[in-house]
């Protein structure tokens, strides 16, 4: 799919998009970190041997 071009957007919309993007990245990193933590906790708390 072609990447959307934001160059013709007004400054406020651009700023809104930038903030949404930054929030999505922050939330994604946080949730990704939780997934890794749960994985490690599972290994530590419920060892296979």
């Amino acid at each position: 799919m072609a990447r959307r071009d934001d160059s013709d957007l007004d400054p406020v919309t651009k700023q809104i998009r930038a903030r949404q993007k930054a929030r999505n990245i922050a939330l994604g990193l946080f949730l990704g970190g939780l997934v890794v933590l749960f994985f490690l906790l599972t290994i530590v708390r419920f060892p296979t041997h």
């Binding site: 903030r19 930054a22 929030r23 530590v44």
Partner: protein, 313 residues
């Protein structure tokens, strides 16, 4: 439906033109306060007898941090109307209009609930229950109930900040014994002189919004006297870990020296009378040192434990 929270200017409850920045969500958790919470929680965890797997230990500290952040966010959601009228807090995300109130509330509930559940599943349910109690204590007992009603708010409410070392300790041992209760008592006794030193130099803000802080209700002289009394009472409590055999000589020497310095700074605050336009230097000095005091005291506790474990002392 009414939330019962203090009223807020209508413009602050409207959706904002710009969505809140991720930094505003971080600011909602009061990261500077969280630093002390995380540090004391980590010290409780490191000073506890026994071992804990690093992953579980990390999870415990993360949950303490997230729980503290959730409680702080509930506080900011509830007090947004008051914060807007105080110079010190007017630039927080909600009163400054960078975040709508419902977003803050949902974020706070997610952090608080999530931290308790993860603590329970990943670390232990006693630690999770203590974390839940500490969140409830700060967000409801202190913020909603005590703070707007009594000048003793910070005395009783100080218990909320005293939970982290107890939770850190319980994460390792799985039970509550005398030593973690002593750590709780240290922060409990430390909170009034720490917070009242701050309240003395921002009392006009508290008076304006009707929060019955000690200097506003009982006056400066009474507050100063009580700061000195609590500073004197804090010293034996700070030495209690040594008395009960939970810490050694390194901690005892550090606690004695730090407490002596704390009293030395509290004496001029307790005995003086500030005039109109006073720069409040002794009060600011005491407030600054009180933060250092707690960091250093708990740091000494961990150093003492690590040196003992290494066989150095």
């Amino acid at each position: 439906m009414s939330t019962g929270a203090p009223t807020l200017d209508e413009s602050m409850t409207q959706p904002q033109a710009l969505p809140a920045d991720w930094r505003d969500f971080v600011a909602l958790t009061k990261p500077r306060v969280m630093t002390l919470v995380v540090f004391t929680g980590l010290c409780g965890l490191l000073a506890a007898p026994g071992t804990i797997h690093p992953i579980i230990g990390f999870t415990a500290i993360l949950c303490i941090a997230l729980g503290a952040g959730g409680a702080a966010a509930i506080n900011q959601w509830y007090e947004a109307g008051i914060d807007a009228q105080m110079k010190r807090t007017a630039n927080r995300p909600i009163p400054a209009g960078r975040m709508d109130r419902e977003n803050a509330r949902d974020f706070a509930i997610a952090l608080s609930g999530g931290s308790v559940v993860v603590m329970g599943l990943g670390v232990g349910w006693l630690a999770a229950v203590l974390l839940a109690v500490s969140i409830f204590y700060y967000a409801v007992v202190y913020t909603m109930w005590l703070k707007p009603r009594t000048p003793q708010n910070i005395v009783v409410g100080g218990g909320a900040g005293a939970f982290p070392p107890l939770i850190g300790w319980v994460a390792v041992t799985g039970d509550v014994t005398l030593m973690p209760v002593v750590l709780f008592a240290i922060i409990f006794m430390w909170t009034p002189p720490h917070f009242w030193a701050l309240a003395l130099f921002v009392k006009t803000d508290y008076a304006r919004v009707g929060i019955p802080m000690m200097p506003v209700v009982k006056g400066e002289a009474s507050t100063r006297r009580q700061i000195l009394i609590y500073a004197l009472l804090l010293a034996p409590v700070a030495l209690a870990p040594w008395f009960v055999g939970g810490a050694g000589a390194v901690y005892a020497v550090a606690a004695a020296a730090l407490s002596a310095a704390f009293i030395a700074l509290a004496v001029p605050v307790g005995l003086r009378r500030a005039g109109e336009g006073d720069a409040m230097r002794p009060e600011k000095r005491l407030f600054g040192f009180s933060v250092l005091y707690l960091f250093a005291l708990f740091g000494a506790l961990v150093a003492d434990r690590l040196l003992a474990n290494a066989g150095v002392i």
